[in-house]
């Protein structure tokens, strides 16, 4: 399949997933005990107010009509208005989503910057002290909760040393990246541990491949053998892993954004949950699923670039 064809095919595949999630959310919201309207307005709201909101949100119509309206809204990109912020959900998410995407992308870059060279050292020095040291440190990283790491980094580097801002988000790109650095580092820690572990194993496996012997028999420099022959092949499986973790990275962003007061969709999700802002929760759930699907697609494209066997 051609590259363009594959992209198109994968984009089409997102549609059923999207619909399935949409249906699930719709059904869950209606099956769960309690009335979202009275939940939103609180126990002391007047019947009048409750009825007005019910009407506004379409809860007085039949389930089927509600479902059709719901899907129709999604198709038009209309998710209604946030009950907490009083602005269209689309606008709200449009403002917040780029922040989270930047955060997770930065975290991925940081994770790779740590993991790739160290996985290399650990694999080449397998079962000797550098390997044990690297694996030990990363094991601690893997076992550390995101919020805890965030708190420590925040206190040490922002509050005490004042190298970084304590929270929030900047105006210019450089300023934004500076604001996002600590949260991204926090998010990167356990992610880089997962990448390191996988890549180390992959490198060890590739090192025993016959094409590495053949490369040696050609009299190539060790540096070229390791980078061109070993690393490139080992990265193929690791790229898949990075893509598969897009979801957990977004999950981590929820916590990181809460700790560092970053105005992204993760924090919006938590805030909306506490505010019972159902339109936002529904829309975010769908949007995050799409983001993850797109991350899978990007992963596939990178893998195609790395491994010509996939490109067919």
């Amino acid at each position: 399949m051609s590259r363009a064809g594959l992209v198109l095919w994968r984009l089409l595949q997102i549609v059923p997933t999207f619909l399935l999630i949409g249906v699930t959310i719709f059904v869950l919201a209606r099956l769960l005990p309690g009335d979202p309207v009275s939940a939103m307005l609180g126990d002391r709201a007047s019947d009048e107010a409750v009825n007005r909101l019910r009407q506004q949100m379409g809860f007085d119509r039949s389930i089927l009509t509600q479902f059709v309206l719901f899907i129709e809204g999604i198709a038009r990109g209309d998710f209604g208005s946030s009950t907490a912020y009083r602005i269209p959900v689309t606008q709200l998410i449009g403002e917040r989503l780029p922040v989270t995407i930047t955060l997770t992308a930065l975290a991925t870059v940081i994770a790779l910057v740590f993991a790739v060279p160290l996985a290399f050292v650990a694999a080449v020095k397998a079962n000797r002290w550098p390997d044990f040291l690297i694996r030990g440190v990363f094991q601690v990283g893997l076992s550390s909760p995101v919020f805890y790491v965030g708190l420590i980094l925040l206190t040490v580097f922002a509050a005490w040393l004042r190298w970084f801002p304590v929270g929030g988000y900047g105006e210019t790109l450089g300023d934004k990246l500076w604001h996002l650095f600590l949260p991204a580092l926090t998010l990167a820690l356990s992610f880089s541990a997962i990448i390191m572990r996988n890549l180390r194993a992959a490198i060890l496996e590739v090192l025993t491949a016959e094409f590495v012997d053949f490369a040696r028999s050609k009299g190539l420099a060790q540096r070229i053998i390791l980078f061109r022959h070993v690393l490139r092949n080992a990265l193929v499986s690791t790229v898949t892993l990075v893509g598969l973790h897009a979801g957990s990275l977004l999950g981590g962003a929820v916590i990181t954004e809460s700790v560092f007061a970053v105005p992204g969709v993760g924090r919006l999700m938590v805030d909306s949950i506490f505010a019972r802002d159902y339109p936002v929760i529904q829309a975010l759930t769908l949007v995050l699923a799409v983001v993850v699907s797109l991350a899978f697609l990007v992963t596939d494209l990178i893998q195609m670039a790395l491994d010509p066997r996939v490109a067919r």
């Binding site: 997933t17 076992s143 420590i152 999950g251 999700m269």
Partner: protein, 274 residues
């Protein structure tokens, strides 16, 4: 020299992980015996004390002993590790077994479900469900259970697909064994090893998840001592009294390392590739 005795060699990681988990378990089951103070007793003569001989981990803003609180919290966190995973373990294993063995439409539906679950940020899903059900440990177990079983089922299904074509399964059919007997007596024990190893990892993840929810205020509710809740309690005092936050965090990391090492050890022992 006498002949060498055949000796079961335990992997070092299993011994180390087991030791850490044993320590955690003692704290969890009998916090009263290990903790030097009452974890909820206020002591206004010792507020925000740094670590000392009397209070190795210091005290918080109410004079409560952090060491005792960290130990007491083990009860809830170890409970989370077990309760949040046993349900998914059992349900997922059985579903994976059936889906893998019988295939068909159920298998196809399962495939779509797996796509759905891996596409979605697990933590966000759990948070969303907890938010709807209301904060608290029981609701957290339900939320984790709703999604968590899929990972076990996927793993189990993969194992069953491999085992289904093995000779002893065909032999069992030829001998006229019942399906249930083939499934539970022949396939399950052979497919169980990777599940067991994954369970270890999953318990570590459960503690991370449980403490994260506790930190966000969606998991265990104060005044119950839970590591994530303790960290949340201490975060506003971090600059003056780092010990309130730091020590419960170390407990989480230690528990995670314990489960990971034990998982590696079990994998080594059972010769499971990870």
């Amino acid at each position: 020299m006498t002949a060498r005795m055949p000796r079961l060699r335990l992997p070092g990681s299993l011994v180390a992980g087991g030791a850490i988990l044993a320590l955690m378990l003692v704290c969890a089951l009998a916090p009263g015996l290990v903790a030097p103070y009452d974890p909820i007793a206020f002591d206004y003569t010792a507020l925000l004390q740094p670590p000392s001989g009397a209070h190795p981990f210091g005290t918080d803003q109410f004079g409560r002993d952090i060491l005792s609180r960290t130990i007491a919290a083990a009860t809830i966190d170890i409970q989370i590790a077990v309760f949040a995973t046993v349900g998914p373990l059992v349900v997922g294993t059985v579903i994976g077994l059936l889906v893998g063995y019988y295939g068909g439409i159920a298998d196809m539906v399962f495939g779509r479900l797996v796509d759905l679950v891996v596409t979605f940020p697990f933590l966000v899903l759990v948070i969303a469900i907890v938010a709807v059900l209301g904060p608290g440990l029981v609701n957290m177990y339900i939320a984790v259970g709703v999604v968590g079983w899929v990972f076990y089922a996927r793993l189990m299904r993969g194992e069953v697909l491999v085992l289904r074509n093995h000779d002893y399964v065909s032999a069992g059919k030829v001998l006229g064994y019942g399906e249930a007997r083939i499934l539970f007596r022949h396939i399950l024990p052979n497919a169980a090893r990777p599940i067991l190893v994954y369970w270890m990892t999953d318990m570590a993840l459960a503690i991370l998840l449980g403490s994260s929810l506790g930190y966000l205020g969606l998991g265990a509710q104060p005044p119950a001592a839970e590591w994530g809740v303790l960290i949340a309690d201490g975060k506003n005092f971090f600059s003056q009294a780092w010990w309130i936050t730091v020590f419960p965090g170390i407990a989480i990391i230690l528990a995670g390392i314990g489960f990971s090492l034990a998982g590696d050890g079990v994998a080594d022992l059972l010769d499971v590739k990870r």
